[in-house]
Symmetry: C2
Subunit: 317 residues, 2 copies
């Protein structure tokens, strides 16, 4: 705010309580109110400064205030810097469905200052790392090598390594999104780990809020989702030898879960997946890894293959 | 619904109470709920069947459900057919600002069946006719001639004449919108009559809800707004001789107000206009008619010119 004011701009701050509970239509309503009161017009700019919740929400109110004004994403979490803040997906949650209400609205700029990550809680760093591993598996073998080689320095928040990692992740995400903004084709590869992951996340929220021995986070769910989905590819024989193991080892080094004590309720998982918004006309799509760095997009995975992969999360197979 | 079902489609109806009071974020929230319950996915289509309130609302929830699904506008009011249903502006109201929350989201199709106008209340027909006169003044002298020649048959809801008039109005609106979807330039000409009109409408709502001797409607406000704005052009000497009088005569034949018993509160009007979302950085823009069929876009109208034009609404000058 100081630097913007020093540049001669008028700035008003609106603080949003932390956590997913702020991503609601009601909260958006209060923001419109504050924006109107502050006199924002079509030439004004919304700056979302915070984690993924804040940038999703800021982007959504920018997308829908006076039919769309400019916004800038300034992500202060690793998840925001490598994922949520890039790509133009904005939105709020419906009580029964995350991100149900939203719009595509590209930010005018995305700013990522890795020094903000120095104070990020460890669990939130891990959530971002799950998406970082995902980007490497779907698109960039060299990044995967870097993650393996630099895992300790990443966990120690080494700014130089983080800057390199964040930069490469933004490039991957931006490349995919520029080729396919609306998720008709290529963008779907970003869903790797998310079909099963979202179901596990929902299931954990319905139960005790625990997943893999700790409070559920999006990152924990995605890590387990990637394990299950890589397991499907391995069982089909379409994944290169060793892929599942390399992914497991890297996720473990980052402190992410790779298995469960008890198998999840497979029938409930299947039900949730079918209700997931990515299921077009009831058909489940999966992104399956072929090699580290390359995936395929398929819609012929059977319910039995999914059941077996979920069983393996507990059996360790 | 019958014809869609006969074509093999699944159809669910959600009824929205009539009137502007339904254009709220809360109502949108209930629609998302109904859409989720009905199982709408990204391949589903929203059909807005009704007047401008319904198509604005239907378009907005379509724009923001799962970050945008397809929609079709089926307008059953003249205002909807010639204006609200065409152009992709969708949105809901904020208690203090109409259409504050919205998005640009073009419908996949716009259907206008003029036989639905047979049962439209006379005052709502007039509201549509105010926009029809506006289109003629800003863009189409031949349409203005037709309106003068066919006024009686239009008021008698002659289907053949209405079909011709609606078609030509949709063409005008669509042409302007295709050239400038986001209102950076040409689209602004559609605001003719609306800068003063919106202020008069707000002022009437703050007071007794009456405007020009009857309950305020958008059409009555726009008719008076066009009179005030044409008066500014005439006083500047930039409008052709007789323009103001021809516009006055046609509006009167359609039963629209062209003057007020007492002058509106000019200072309050100026205040409202400056708060209007069309005022970029406080500078008021006006669309001023030059001839029937051509306008210019200006931002150098002084407050005194506006005061004088408002005074003339009561003085009849």
């Amino acid at each position: 705010m100081e630097s913007l004011r020093a540049a001669g701009l008028e700035v008003e701050a609106v603080v949003v309580p932390p956590g997913e509970a702020s991503k609601t239509l009601e909260r958006a309503g209060r923001l419109y109110e504050a924006m109107l009161k502050a006199g924002l017009d079509r030439g004004s700019v919304v700056v979302g400064l915070g984690g993924g919740v804040v940038t999703d929400l800021a982007g959504f109110v920018a997308a829908t205030y006076m039919r769309g004004i400019a916004w800038v994403a300034v992500s202060t979490s690793l998840l925001g810097q490598v994922d949520a803040g890039v790509g133009g997906k904005t939105g709020v949650d419906h009580p029964e469905c995350k991100n149900l209400i939203g719009a595509f609205h590209q930010p005018s700029a995305v700013l990522a200052d890795v020094t903000t990550l120095a104070t990020l809680p460890q669990e939130e760093l891990r959530t971002g790392l799950a998406e970082v591993v995902k980007h490497a598996v779907i698109r960039d073998a060299a990044l995967f090598d870097t993650l393996e080689a630099e895992a300790d320095r990443i966990l120690a928040r080494d700014a130089a390594v983080l800057e390199d990692v964040v930069t490469r992740n933004v490039e991957i995400k931006a490349d995919v999104v520029m080729a396919d903004e609306r998720e008709g084709g290529l963008r779907r590869i970003l869903n790797y780990g998310h079909t099963v992951g979202h179901a596990l996340e929902s299931l954990a929220m319905e139960a005790d809020g625990q997943l893999g021995g700790a409070a559920v986070t999006h990152g924990r769910a995605v890590a387990l989702g990637m394990m299950a989905e890589a397991r499907i590819a391995q069982a089909r024989g379409t994944a290169e030898a060793g892929l599942l193991q390399r992914q497991r080892t890297l996720l473990e080094r980052f402190g992410l879960p790779v298995g469960l004590d008890a198998p999840p309720d497979a029938e409930r998982c299947l039900q949730i997946m079918r209700h997931d918004k990515k299921a077009q006309s009831g058909r489940l799509r999966f992104i399956l890894p072929q090699t580290i760095g390359a995936v395929c997009d398929t819609d012929d995975v059977t319910d039995d293959e999914i059941r077996e992969a979920l069983r393996c999360l507990a059996a360790g197979c």
